[in-house]
């Protein structure tokens, strides 16, 4: 059975193969509150009574279940007919995300184990498949609803959401799919754009490489249909890197660099040949862009860049963390752009790759932020580090992502001000991220209590224009404990980094009857407009601040401080927000 929300779009748009099949749709489902499934070998012949619409979590309406009770162990099962054209190839089973840990069996045999609720995993299941007849996939997912040392983001540890915390998500919440590949195939590529030299670095990762076969990869790079590079190189190791100069002239608004205003993407096609026979074809893309700090200025493509971002938590009515459709993801990007924002801080969530695809394609910079835990322990450090490595790895190629935020507002490290161990963790996350990715900026702890960060980011929900302007007109007052939190913890200090206000606003305004929560409140549309204008104008009028991130894009459940409501309906005209972002209003006298 398929529904209108089958999410049948290609789940890995950065690296696309034609031989694939979605396993979204109806699966058998079972709560296992007693945790007897393993003992009873539910991964065997057992059938489950309930039904669920994958990839939606059981808490969501779109899953067909829709209960907010905690059920920390859940099981999924379905039959799969491997299409005839895939036979004889290696079959790879992919999971976009399963919260928090997963075990996967194919025909009763264990195929994969994964931990980490926001990152993808896959398994080569070829040897587990039956020669004839349908195959059966069983998944056991375990979540730990009340364990606040797990990376969880905004998922509340109580059943009913409150304040800034929302309904939980358990189990599968991103697409499940299979693809067919030859034993020798390109397992992925990494892109290293270098605009200073107009070179694209490409690292080829070839699965099944051996030096016995003659393995070659043909790379064709084109821009809007024009081929700009076409080459074939012998693969002499499983990981091989090269750089290609792109002929381009970038000035006077010309050229092919990527920016929110000109989301130029190069298309790439890879073909893998083994002993002269074509074995794999992959379509991909990259963008040439650079983010850097130069003489204290935040720069995009070597020019000062003023960030106008909005906080986007990626919650959807009906789907919770899972967008109901690809269009819904695309529409969020379009709405953000039409309100005059050039960026988004994707808050406490590793978003679906389709979202990043639309940001790449339509032009929106992204701050990629981890979903944090809320309490610190050594076990937390291990789990969080593993998941973050996978997250950075998954999204390494998206030109839209320019900043990584492993930690936010001291979540998971609540005692960082006084606890050296937690400071060490924040420093470790900063350096780990830099060691995995030298092309992006990294924030050790967004909002306050920074250790080392490439940008000085501050959260301040002050709503009064005059107070904001006064505070952010001079460096000393700007750094003087906004929100009563120190900007830097002991041993670290401001050293000329660009200052950005990465959370502010949060003005609540509800058109209907129900009451909700916000950082400050508006009484009607005109008041809302005035208040939004006041705080954004204050940022624009500050001589120090080089960018902002307004809280927030949409209402989320009981939190009603969105510019749009939870259903993405504008509270005031989009053009009004756009005009505010563009600084087109003169300040009204009463602000």
């Amino acid at each position: 059975m398929s529904s209108m929300f089958s999410r049948g779009d290609y789940p890995r748009p950065q690296f696309e193969r034609s031989a694939w099949m979605s396993l979204n749709g109806e699966w058998q489902f079972q709560f296992d509150d007693e945790r007897i499934g393993l003992d009873e070998q539910w991964y065997g012949e057992t059938t489950f009574a309930q039904r669920i619409q994958v990839p939606f979590c059981y808490q969501s309406e779109l899953s067909g279940i829709g209960t907010q009770e905690f059920h920390d162990t859940v099981w999924y099962k379905r039959k799969v007919e491997i299409p005839r054209e895939m036979s004889g190839k290696r079959i790879i089973l992919h999971f976009g995300a399963v919260d928090y840990s997963a075990r996967v069996w194919v025909n009763g045999q264990l195929a994969a184990v994964h931990e980490g609720g926001h990152t993808p995993f896959s398994a080569d299941i070829t040897s587990l498949l039956r020669r004839e007849g349908p195959d059966e996939i069983t998944v056991q997912a375990r979540d730990y609803s009340k364990d606040v040392t797990l990376p969880r983001g905004k998922q509340f540890w109580k059943e009913k959401s409150e304040l800034i915390f929302y309904t939980s998500t358990t189990g599968i919440w991103q697409p499940v799919w299979i693809e067919a590949v030859e034993p020798v195939h390109l397992s992925r590529v990494f892109y290293y754009p270098d605009i200073d030299r107009n070179e694209i670095g490409i690292q080829y990762v070839v699965d099944g490489w051996s030096d016995e076969a003659d393995i070659k990869v043909r790379t064709r790079i084109s821009f809007e249909g024009e081929v700009v590079a076409y080459e074939e190189c012998k693969i002499t190791a499983a990981k091989q890197k090269r750089r290609i100069e792109l002929h381009d002239f970038n000035d006077h608004g010309m050229g092919r660099w990527w920016s929110p205003e000109h989301p130029n993407l190069y298309d790439v096609e890879y073909r893998v040949y083994v002993n002269g026979i074509e074995k794999d074809t992959v379509r991909s893309y990259f963008g040439m862009r650079k983010v850097s700090v130069d003489s204290g200025k935040l720069c995009l493509n070597n020019r000062p860049f003023y960030l106008k971002a909005v906080l986007d938590q990626g919650y959807f009515p009906g789907g919770i963390l899972t967008a109901p459709s690809d269009d819904a993801l695309k529409k969020d990007v379009e709405l953000t752009k039409s309100m005059g924002f050039n960026g988004v801080r994707k808050h406490q969530k590793i978003e679906d790759p389709r979202f990043l695809y639309w940001c790449d394609k339509l032009g929106l910079v992204v701050w990629g932020e981890a979903a944090n835990a809320f309490a610190f322990s050594e076990a937390y450090v291990q789990k969080f580090t593993s998941e973050w490595i996978e997250a950075v790895n998954r999204d390494f190629n998206s030109p839209s992502i320019i900043v990584w935020v492993p930690l936010n507002e001291s979540w998971g490290i609540p005692n960082i001000k006084v606890d050296d161990q937690q400071r060490q963790h924040a420093m470790a996350m900063y350096h780990l991220t830099k060691s995995l990715d030298t092309t992006r900026l990294v924030i050790s702890n967004d909002g306050w209590e920074h250790v080392q960060s490439d940008l000085c980011t501050i959260h301040d929900y002050q709503w009064d224009y005059n107070k904001l302007v006064a505070k952010y007109s001079q460096i000393d007052s700007a750094l003087d404990a906004p929100q009563n939190r120190d900007v830097y913890v002991k041993g670290y200090q401001y050293e000329g980094q660009p200052i950005l206000m990465t959370e502010f606003g949060g003005i609540s305004f509800q058109k209907g009857e129900t009451s909700g929560w916000g950082y400050s409140g508006a009484s009607d549309g005109a008041d809302f407009k005035k208040r939004v204008h006041a705080v954004i104008k204050a940022m624009q009028d500050s001589p120090l601040i080089q960018g902002y991130c307004y809280t927030q894009l949409t209402d989320v459940e009981q939190e009603i401080n969105g510019l749009l409501d939870f259903n993405r309906e504008p509270k005031i005209p989009l053009e009004t927000i756009r005009a505010i972002n563009e600084g087109k209003f003169e300040l009204e006298e009463d602000l």
């Binding site: 070179e199 080459e231 091989q240 090269r242 750089r243």
Partner: protein, 593 residues
Amino acid sequence: MTTIRPEYPRPQFIRDSWQSLNGVWSFAFDDDDLGLKEKWYQDTGKLPLEITIPFSYQSELSGVEDKRNHERVWYQRTFDIPAEYAGKRVILHFGAVDYECRVWVNGQRAGNHRGGFSSFSLDITELIESNQNVITVMAKDYLTDLTIPRGKQYWKEKGEVMWFTNMTGIWQSVWMEFVEEVRLEKVRFTPHLDTNEIEIQSFVEGWNERSRLELATRIEFNGEKIAEECRTIFAGVEAWRVNLRDFNDHGMGRWWSPEKPNLYDVTFELKADGVVVDRIESYFGMRKISVDNGKLCLNNRPYQMKLVLDQGYFPQSLLTGPTDDAIRRDVELCKAMGFNGMRKHMMVADPRYLYWCDKLGALVWGEMAAAYVYSEQYAHRMMDEWKEVIERDYNHPSIVVWVPLNESWGVADIYYNEQQQHHAQSLYHFTKSVDSTRLVISNDGWEHCKSDLCTVHDYAKDPEVLHKRYSDIEHILADMPGLEGRKFIYNPGFSYGGEPVLCTEFGGVNYHSEPDAPVVEPKAENENEFVQQLVDVINPFLVSKLVQGYCYTQLTDTETEICGLLTWNREPKVPLDIIKRINEGQTNFQGMI
């Protein structure tokens, strides 16, 4: 095929389809400037003498050996195009013609060139007649013009002090090669050691959009295939980098150094619509020269340079190596004496010399031949010639430092003349702008503007003076060792900024081991005294905590100079091993000589 310098003249970029034009040519002096008027290029038989190319008429091996100044000379010879190359484009190459020349083929002007030390080539295809072609060259030198880059060539007929016999006209190999319309004109190799990548820039001549051009590249190391690739060519100039995956530690790996002169072999094949139209054999070395925390580093590790000054003069052939073996032998002798490099002084080395340095492992400081008087015209000409030199030799891993100016030659007033400072600065920055991989010295020895190294020349002989002077930078800057207190190390407006300090000329110990060598005072009287004096001047730099390298003056005696470690005929004055031990720090040689 000729037996005179028959080896391939451009070993960094080899094509099969070539032919040497070295050997006997007709020759004439034209002191009365009749050649042009009488159109000597239109016929054969007007040049009464014969000369053996590529040796200049002043040298013995030329067969002319006339030491008098003749500023205008003519060369002529006939040649055939071998049948196998019929229909190909014909490129005529000149290794070097001092100072300027005009070239005719079959009576028609083929081109001209100015600059006595840089190479040039001419496409003469349209001038070729089916058989029996005639090539005529008129070379003009300005033997007393001190504003043209000349190096050690004296402006008087007889060499004196540190200046030597002049050279005029052709003095490096002349050759032809046969190529297709579409060809690989050159490549530039830029090693990126830190990422273990080789950057390749291809220059495809005759590139067009009509045919599908592909360039196949194969990189090998000691026969092991490292990379193999084929790329479509979309533009005349393209660049890409290949990762070489290499483990470099514990003495392993494939980086290039004087101790381990590892070279990667490269084969390029250019294909047009699938057909191979050009094939090149080349090589590169992975090495990096840098200054890191005030330390001069080779391949990211501190490296002490032990150089010897090499002026490249040969008794019978002056600046032209008499044979490829002789060139190779000079490199081998330097290494045998414990040096790890040479400052190639006041001349631009023959590419064969650089080839042997690449191959055998020796660092080279590439230095321009200086003029002696400044003028705006000099500045133009210097710049033109220098840029040809650095472009020609860009790919040689052995070259690690560029020295456009030495001891204020050509910029004699640089200390107080801002124009001359601008000239030195422009050469420094120009060199950096076309070669970001090497270090550059604005003015070697003294009166530096901006330089990547602080190089001083110091001929003090007293070890106590040297020990004291090179104990800290303040002493060096205050002593002004160059000409004993008369030359500042830095010009006004420039100052020492923590650059590595090297003494790049010193020693110059005179000792003649042959009875007929000229007597220059002061000199060592016997081998023992010679060795002691060498120890006295070399050892202070080895023990100095400050000095990171040196360049001993000099490799061989040259004409009137007898300060060589070897005689002019390359005979050791003391056993090579003694010099090696001195370079290694041994100070006591009692009973060994």
